[in-house]
């Protein structure tokens, strides 16, 4: 087991790169975190080396020379430690101050966490421009975004490691966090507060895109859902809008207008299903529809018991909702 430990610890370094990386530095706060982290890393490694050097010196040195050298050495050592600690505190304070100075103007997004998915609303001064979506976040690069955080059930925590720090979503009050994405890319957000059985599968994809692309996405999101084009899609449309699906889910532009479950208007344009649980493709979608309690046990979607033909139709229709 001892032999296994170093390679196992190396695995944790995987958390430092990729779609979900604390040191990704793709946002303003995250860049500050990365800076602070590297300052601490360099300073602590330097001090580690000094301590090891001192120990080696203690081993090899002879019992000659007076107490004076030792006393001077100790004084220098204590002074060095004190100054460095003050320096690190200062660095931490500067990073903190810089984070609090994030400009608070720009876009407002409201996120309500549910067990175990995210309800997202892009707030516009014109209510007809307000956009509702679920389990995905599109952000314009370079714009500070204020995200208002609410919870419908228990405490969750909002965290996009590549972009910023964490902020809790607490039932009965609203919190907020300002996120300034800087690098274009796709990142993963993960609930960071244990919130029940499917806490680990409560994630979403964050797409940071240039301002124009973001505005286009917003406008496209306001359009009603794709109308069924084939007979299979038509059958799926009929099922979704008249049966169990429409009781909880909303598909804008159709009679399906439930508000208690994820919005499905442009469902197929997302990158994942089940709040970041599975990739978006026909196979995973059909498996989810056939038995959501097998795909993500404990989630609030009941087993509908679709017949094979209905399953084909509903998955074809949902897949067409680009």
């Amino acid at each position: 087991m001892r032999k296994l430990a170093p390679p196992l610890m190396l695995l944790t370094l995987g958390g430092c790169a990729g779609r979900q990386a604390m040191l990704g530095a793709a946002g303003r706060d995250s860049a500050l975190f990365a800076w602070l982290w590297h300052v601490f890393l360099i300073v602590t490694v330097a001090f580690y080396c000094i301590v090891i050097a001192g120990l080696l010196w203690a081993v090899v040195r002879r019992r000659e020379g007076g107490e004076a050298a030792v006393r001077t050495g100790l004084l220098v050592w204590v002074a060095l430690i004190s100054l460095t600690l003050v320096g690190l505190t200062l660095a931490s304070w500067l990073a903190d101050r810089n984070m609090n100075r994030a400009p608070r103007t720009g876009l407002t997004i409201e996120i309500t966490a549910h067990q175990w998915w995210w309800d997202v609303r892009y707030i516009a001064s014109d209510p007809s421009m307000t956009l509702r979506t679920s389990n995905e976040l599109h952000l314009p690069a370079g714009t500070p975004v204020r995200i208002v955080l609410k919870s419908a059930d228990v405490i969750h925590s909002f965290w996009i490691p590549n972009l910023s720090g964490k902020q809790d979503l607490i039932p009965g009050r609203s919190n907020d966090i300002v996120v300034t994405p800087e690098k274009v890319g796709v990142y993963r957000s993960q609930c960071a507060e244990y919130c029940g059985v499917q806490h680990a599968h409560m994630a979403f994809d964050v797409t940071v895109q240039p301002r124009e692309a973001f505005e286009q996405w917003w406008k496209a999101g306001l359009l009603p859902a794709h109308a069924p084009a084939t007979s299979v899609e038509q059958a799926g449309y009929t099922y979704v809008t008249t049966r169990e699906c429409s009781t909880c889910h909303n598909v804008t532009g159709t009679p399906a207008s439930g508000q208690v479950a994820p919005d499905l208007t442009h469902f197929a344009s997302r990158l994942s299903i089940g709040a970041g649980t599975y990739p978006m493709d026909r196979g995973h979608l059909a498996a989810w529809l056939a038995d959501p309690q097998d795909a993500k046990p404990g989630n609030k979607m009941p087993v509908i018991g679709l017949e094979p033909a209905e399953l084909r139709a509903v998955s074809a229709y949902l897949e067409s909702l680009k």
Partner: protein, 179 residues
Amino acid sequence: MSLPCRTSLLAAALLVASCDREARNPRGGPLPDDAPLASAAMHSDLAERRSAAYQNNAMHVSNGQLYFHWMNCTGCHSEGGGGIGPALTDTKWRYGSTMESIVQTIAQGRPNGMPGYAGKMTPRQIWEVAAYVRSLAVRVPQSLRSGRSEGLSDGEPPTLRDPQDFRAVTPPQDEATVE
């Protein structure tokens, strides 16, 4: 066997026993849900056992409470006290107060306003709502009704911060009351 040894064994046995408080099955009901609702099977042993299985399971009652809010039952029945629709906290009901009758009422609807939910909710969901509705009228064991429901209310939370840069939070000034 020494006394401390026996005591600790007994304590361990008690701990293990507490693990078996309730079975939670996220899929399907205690018995096939599509078994006939209210027909010849109404007073059969099977129907009785199914009713009891739903009513005596905290997960089913709690899910029922969640759906009661999601489906806007509160819109007419309030939190059970009634309003547009009849109260649900008494036991003498127009269409019967057995689990079977309530399931029938929810699934098929009743004259003068109660909509039918068959095809809009799965049979299991309907049974769960019925179990919750029954729990409003009768005294249920404390283990069935937790102090905190699994789905808390989803109201607009009062914000404690002052987001002055984004929204004016000055309360509306009523001129008549300002002196």
